[in-house]
C-alpha cells in the first residue's frame, strides 16, 4: 500500500493508504477530522471543501495519494489561538447557517473566493459559490456573510490557515 505524508491542520501524518481511498475518508475515518462532511458522490455539493495547498478543493474528488506532501486545512484548523476566522465569525453574525452541514465547505469556498476577488459584488459571490450547495438558507445570508467577511478581512492578507 502506498505510504503518504500529509499535513492536516498543522499536524504531519504518515499513513498507508489504499490507492482508491478518498481524501475525505482519510480525513474523516482515519484522522478523525469529522468537521468536514460528505454531501454527495458526484462532486456537486461542496460540503467536503478543504484547502489543499492554499486553494479550495473538494476532498471527495481527490484521492488521498494525490494529497501526498500536501498541506490540508479543514474547518477545524481555520481558527487561530482560540479565535474564529473572520469568515466563520461573519457566518455566525449574519445567520448564514441553519443545519450547518454545508457550512464548513461554504466557509472554505468563501475564503478562497476572496483570494481572487477581495471585494466581490453580490453577483460575484453568487457565481463564486455555485459549487457549494445549501438547502437551508436560500443563500441570502450567506451572501451577506461573505460581504461582511470580505470587509473584515480587507487589508489583511487572506488567511487560509
Amino acid at each position: 500500500m502506498p505510504r503518504i505524508t500529509v499535513t492536516v491542520d498543522g499536524i504531519r501524518y504518515e499513513e498507508e493508504v489504499e490507492p482508491r481511498l478518498l481524501l475525505v475518508h482519510l480525513l474523516r475515518d482515519r484522522l478523525g477530522k469529522t468537521g468536514t462532511p460528505v454531501g454527495c458522490d458526484t462532486g456537486n455539493c461542496g460540503a467536503c471543501t478543504v484547502m489543499l495547498d492554499g486553494r479550495s478543493a473538494k476532498s471527495c474528488s481527490v484521492l488521498a495519494v494525490q494529497a501526498d506532501e500536501c498541506d490540508v486545512v479543514t474547518i477545524e484548523g481555520l481558527g487561530r489561538d482560540g479565535e474564529l476566522h473572520p469568515m466563520q465569525e461573519a457566518f455566525r453574525t449574519e445567520h448564514a447557517l441553519q443545519c450547518g452541514y454545508c457550512t464548513p465547505g461554504m466557509v472554505m469556498a468563501a475564503i478562497d473566493l476572496l483570494r481572487d476577488d477581495p471585494d466581490p459584488s453580490e453577483e460575484a459571490i453568487r457565481q463564486g459559490l455555485e459549487g457549494n450547495l445549501c438547502r437551508c438558507t436560500g443563500y441570502c445570508n450567506i451572501v451577506r456573510a461573505v460581504r461582511r467577511g470580505a470587509q473584515e478581512m480587507s487589508g489583511e492578507e487572506v488567511r487560509t490557515s
Binding site: 454527495c40 459559490l129 459549487g131 438547502r135 443563500y139
Partner: protein
C-alpha cells in the same frame, strides 16, 4: 392599486405583539440573538451520525433492486460472505422472520389498504432502490465491494407508473389488492348549488411534480447493543416517534431502546420516517453483537429517501361575474409510490382543508384517491399537502382574475376574509384565529412597487418586447403547529400532537431545559433560551437546552409541521410558569409573607412594597439545600409541562414575484421577490427571516428547477446532484422580506410557526408570474418545473414567433 402602506395598522399590530416584551426593554424574546448552536457548527465540532465511531464497529451496505417491479426468484449471498473483511451477508428471506413490516401510522380511511412492507424485500420488489440484501464488513469500502458478489435472479413484472392508467381496470397491479390505496372525501356547503348556474367556472388541472427533499446531510444510522439494551443513533427528525415505532416493529421492548438524534443536517420532512435501514441496523447489531453503521450515498438517497408531492389536481372554481367565489371543487390523485410509509396517505389530507385558502365561499368539495405505483413512496416534504393546495387555489384565482379582466389583487380583495372577521370559521371547518391579509398585502405591494411594475409590463407588451415581464401574486395561509390531539384522532392519525418540556433550576442558578422537539437547523437551543430567560428572569447564557435523546428527553413528539415553537415553545413557557409558582411559594416562606404579596420581576421575588426579596438563583440554592422549606415542598425547583394546542396556527402572508421571461429562449429571470409574512409574534427575528429565506428557495426550486424523473421502465433518472438540480446561489435572487404581526390567539406566546410558510407561498407566486408574462401569447399554464424548454414549448415551440393573442383576451371558460 393602493401603494400607500397602512403604517398605522402595521404599527398597531406590532404594538399589540409587544406583550411578549420589546427588544429594547432588556427582554430576550423579540431580539435577534445570534445562535448558540453556531459555535460548534462553524468550527466543525459537530456530531453528525456518520461521525460516530464505536470500538469494533462494522459497516453495512445494501444491495438494491435495479428493477421497478419484479419477482425475486433467487438470492445467493454466499460469495459475498467469502469476501475479505465481510462479517455477514443476508437476503430479505434470511431476516424475514424478524424484520417485521415498516409502519404506517395514518390509516386515513375505512377503505385504506396498507400492504405489508418488509424492510428488505423477500418475494417481490416494487421500486428501483428497494433493498434486497445486505453486507456487513469491517470498513465501508469492503462492504460496498462485496455487494458485487451477491447474485439475485428477478422475474420482471410490469411497472406501474402513471396514476390514471394505474386506476384503469385490468392493468398490472402493484399489490394484489389493486392500485387504489384509499379514497377520502370531504365537503362543506351545497356544492351543487354553488356550481349550478354559476356565471363563471374555472376548471384546471395542475400537476405537482415529484420532488426529492435533499437534506444536505445524507441519512446515516448507527446501532449498538450491550446484549440487553439497544441504542440507535439516526439522522432523524423524530427520535421519540421512532423509538415507539421501532419497538412495535422489531419487538425490542421500548424501555430497552434508546434513540438519539445527534446533530442532524436538515430534514424538510425527509427524516420524518421510520426507515428500512433503521430497522435493519437494529436487527444486525442484535444478530452480530457488534455496533454497525450505515451511511447512504447521495445516489442511494435520491432513490430511497421518501419523495414529496406527486399529485394531479383538478380544481374547479365557480364564481359570480363580479369575481365573488361561490364554491371550489377539488379532485385529487395522489401518488403513494409502492407502499404506505409513516404518514404517506395523510399528506394529501393535510391539504384537504386548505384549498379554500384565505377566501370566503359558500361551498367546498374535496375528493382524494391515493394510488399505488412502482416508485419510491412519497411522504412529508416541507409543507406536506399545504403547498399543493395553496398552489392550486392561488393559480386558479389568478385564472379567475384573468377571465374577468380584473387585477389579481382585486379579485383576492373581493374574496378574502377581512381582518374584522376573525376568528373566522372557514367552509373547510377550520377556525382561523387571527390574521390581517389587507395589512400584509398593502405592505408587500409597497415594497414591490406593484403599480410601477405593472406599468413596465404594459409598456413591454405594447412594444412586443421579446423579454416580457410577469407579476405573480400569492396570498396564502396555512394550517400548522401540528396539532390538537383530538383533531388528529378524528383524522385517524395514530398519535397525538402535544409537546413536552422540563425546566430545571440547578443549585448554582443555571437552568436546564429539556424539550421534546428535535431541531435539525431551526435553532431551538437559542429560541427556547430566549423564552426561558424572559420567563424566569435569568441570563440568556445561563440556559442550556437538551434534546434529541430519548434517555435525556424521554417525552416528545419531535419536529415537523411548523410545530416546534407553537407547541414545544409553549410547553417550555408553561414549565417556566410552574417553576415560577414554586419559587414564589418558597420566597413567601423565606420572607415570611403571603404568596399573594410576592411580586416577580427581572428574576427577583419581592414582598410587595418593600425591598425585601430573593433572586431565583438564591431560591434554587435554597431548594437544593432544603434546610428551610415550606410544608410539603419537594426540595427542587423543577417543573414539567405537556401542552396540547387547542387549534392549529395559521400564518399567512403575501408574496409577489416579478419575472422576466425571454420569449425567444424560454429563459426565466426572477427580477424581484417580495415576501411579507405574518407568523404572529416573533421570538427571534433572525431565525424567522432565515426560515422564510430557505422556505422561499425551496418553493422557487419546485417552480423552476426540481423534478424526480422516472423513465418508462421505472428507473429513476435523477439519482445524482448533477441530475436533480437543487438551486445554487447563482440560481436565486435576493429576497426582500418583511413581516406584519398579528399574534395568534390560540397560544400564550402569540406565535404561529414559520418553518413551511415560505415554501407554501412561493411556488404559485413564481408560476403565476411566468404565466402572467406569457398571457399575451395565449399561454395559460406551464407545467412545473418551468424550464426554458417547457416555456419555449408552451409558446408553441417557436418562441416569440408564436401567436400574439393580445394582452387581456380571456381564454374561455365563461358560460
Amino acid at each position: 392599486m393602493t401603494e400607500q402602506l397602512d403604517a398605522g395598522l402595521v404599527a398597531r399590530q406590532i404594538a399589540e405583539s409587544g406583550r411578549l416584551g420589546a427588544p429594547d426593554g432588556g427582554h430576550e424574546v423579540g431580539r435577534a440573538r445570534r445562535r448558540k448552536e453556531d459555535a460548534r457548527l462553524i468550527t466543525g465540532r459537530t456530531t453528525w451520525t456518520d461521525n460516530i465511531q464505536l470500538p469494533g464497529m462494522l459497516y453495512v451496505a445494501f444491495l438494491r433492486s435495479p428493477m421497478a417491479h419484479a419477482r425475486i426468484t433467487r438470492v445467493d449471498v454466499s460469495a459475498a460472505r467469502a469476501q475479505p473483511g465481510v462479517v455477514a451477508a443476508y437476503s430479505g428471506r434470511d431476516v424475514a422472520g424478524e424484520q417485521g413490516s415498516l409502519p404506517c401510522a395514518w390509516p386515513v380511511s375505512e377503505d385504506v389498504v396498507i400492504p405489508d412492507h418488509p424492510p428488505m424485500a423477500v418475494d417481490e420488489v416494487r421500486y428501483v432502490g428497494e433493498a434486497v440484501a445486505c453486507v456487513v464488513a469491517t470498513d465501508r469500502y469492503r462492504a460496498a465491494d462485496a455487494l458485487e458478489s451477491i447474485e439475485v435472479d428477478y422475474e420482471p413484472l410490469e411497472a406501474v407508473l402513471d396514476m390514471t392508467e394505474a386506476l384503469a381496470e385490468g392493468g398490472p397491479k402493484v399489490h394484489e389488492t389493486g392500485n387504489q390505496a384509499f379514497t377520502w372525501k370531504f365537503s362543506g356547503g351545497d356544492i351543487e348549488a354553488a356550481f349550478r348556474d354559476a356565471p363563471v367556472v374555472i376548471d384546471r388541472t395542475y400537476v405537482q411534480q415529484r420532488l426529492i427533499p435533499t437534506a444536505m446531510e445524507p441519512r446515516a444510522v448507527v446501532a449498538t447493543t450491550d446484549g440487553g439494551a439497544f441504542t440507535l443513533y439516526s439522522a432523524t427528525q423524530i427520535p421519540h416517534v421512532l423509538r415507539v415505532m421501532l419497538a412495535l416493529t422489531t419487538g425490542i421492548p421500548e424501555h430497552r431502546l434508546r434513540v438519539i438524534a445527534p446533530d442532524v443536517g436538515g430534514g424538510f420532512g425527509s427524516k420524518l420516517q421510520v426507515t428500512a435501514e433503521e430497522v435493519l441496523c437494529l436487527l444486525l447489531t442484535r444478530r452480530l453483537g457488534k455496533p454497525v453503521k450505515w451511511t447512504e450515498s447521495r445516489s442511494e438517497g435520491n432513490m430511497t429517501v421518501h419523495h414529496g408531492r406527486d399529485q394531479i389536481q383538478r380544481i374547479s372554481v365557480a364564481a359570480d361575474r363580479d369575481g365573488r367565489i361561490r364554491g371550489v371543487r377539488v379532485d385529487l390523485l395522489a401518488d403513494m409510490g409502492a407502499y404506505l410509509m409513516l404518514v404517506t396517505p395523510g399528506i394529501p389530507i393535510l391539504g384537504a382543508f386548505m384549498y379554500n385558502g384565505i377566501y370566503k365561499m359558500d361551498a367546498y368539495d374535496f375528493t382524494c384517491t391515493g394510488v399505488f405505483t412502482t416508485k419510491m413512496p412519497t411522504d412529508a416534504y416541507r409543507g406536506a399537502g399545504r403547498p399543493e393546495a395553496t398552489f392550486a387555489i392561488e393559480r386558479a384565482v389568478d385564472e379567475l382574475a384573468h377571465e374577468l379582466n380584473l387585477d389579481p389583487i382585486e379579485v383576492r380583495r373581493r374574496n378574502w376574509i377581512t381582518h374584522q372577521e376573525f376568528p373566522y370559521t372557514t367552509i373547510a371547518g377550520l377556525t382561523y384565529d387571527s390574521g390581517n391579509y389587507e395589512a400584509a398585502t398593502d405592505r408587500a405591494l409597497a415594497l414591490f412597487g406593484y403599480d410601477k411594475l405593472r406599468a413596465e409590463q404594459a409598456d413591454r407588451r405594447d412594444r412586443r418586447d421579446p423579454v416580457q415581464l410577469g407579476i405573480g401574486v400569492s396570498t396564502y395561509t396555512e394550517m400548522c403547529g401540528l396539532a390538537p390531539s383530538r383533531v388528529l384522532g378524528s383524522l385517524s392519525y395514530g398519535a397525538g400532537g402535544w409537546e413536552h418540556a422540563t425546566v430545571r433550576m440547578l443549585p448554582t442558578g443555571k437552568v436546564e431545559v429539556v424539550t421534546g422537539t428535535s431541531p435539525h437547523g431551526q435553532g431551538h437551543e437559542t429560541a427556547w433560551s430566549q423564552i426561558v430567560a424572559d420567563a424566569l428572569g435569568v441570563p440568556f447564557d445561563d440556559v442550556s437546552v437538551l434534546h434529541g435523546d430519548t434517555a435525556i428527553a424521554p417525552r416528545g413528539m419531535d419536529t415537523y409541521g411548523s410545530r416546534s415553537l407553537v407547541v414545544g415553545g409553549v410547553a417550555v413557557l408553561r414549565a417556566c410558569e410552574k417553576v415560577r409558582d414554586k419559587a414564589r411559594n418558597l420566597a413567601a416562606h423565606l420572607l415570611e409573607a403571603a404568596p399573594g404579596d410576592i411580586e416577580f420581576a427581572a428574576g427577583e421575588f419581592r414582598v410587595r412594597g418593600t425591598s425585601e426579596g430573593r433572586t431565583i438563583q438564591e431560591l434554587a440554592l435554597a431548594a437544593f439545600a432544603a434546610h428551610d422549606l415550606p410544608e410539603g415542598f419537594e426540595p427542587r425547583l423543577d417543573a414539567d409541562a405537556t401542552f396540547d394546542p387547542e387549534n392549529f396556527s395559521f400564518p399567512h402572508g403575501t408574496h409577489l414575484c416579478a419575472v422576466e421571461v425571454d420569449t425567444e429562449t424560454g429563459a426565466v429571470r426572477i427580477r424581484s421577490y417580495v415576501a411579507v409574512d405574518d407568523v404572529g409574534s416573533v421570538v427571534n427575528p433572525l431565525i424567522v427571516e432565515g426560515q422564510v429565506h430557505g422556505g422561499i428557495a425551496q418553493g422557487i426550486a419546485q417552480a423552476l428547477f426540481e423534478e424526480a424523473v422516472y423513465d418508462t421502465e421505472g428507473n429513476l433518472l435523477t439519482t445524482t446532484m448533477a441530475d436533480y438540480l437543487i438551486p445554487s446561489a447563482a440560481d436565486l435572487p435576493e429576497f426582500v422580506t418583511d413581516r406584519t404581526e398579528t399574534p395568534a390567539t390560540s397560544n400564550p406566546l402569540g406565535v404561529k410557526g414559520v418553518g413551511e410558510a415560505g415554501t407554501i407561498a412561493s411556488t404559485p407566486a413564481v408560476v403565476n408570474a411566468i404565466v402572467d408574462a406569457l398571457r399575451p401569447y395565449g399561454v395559460r399554464d406551464v407545467a412545473m418545473p418551468c424550464t426554458p424548454e417547457r416555456i419555449w414549448r408552451a409558446l408553441g415551440g417557436d418562441g416569440a414567433a408564436a401567436g400574439w393573442a393580445g394582452p387581456t383576451e380571456p381564454e374561455g371558460g365563461a358560460r
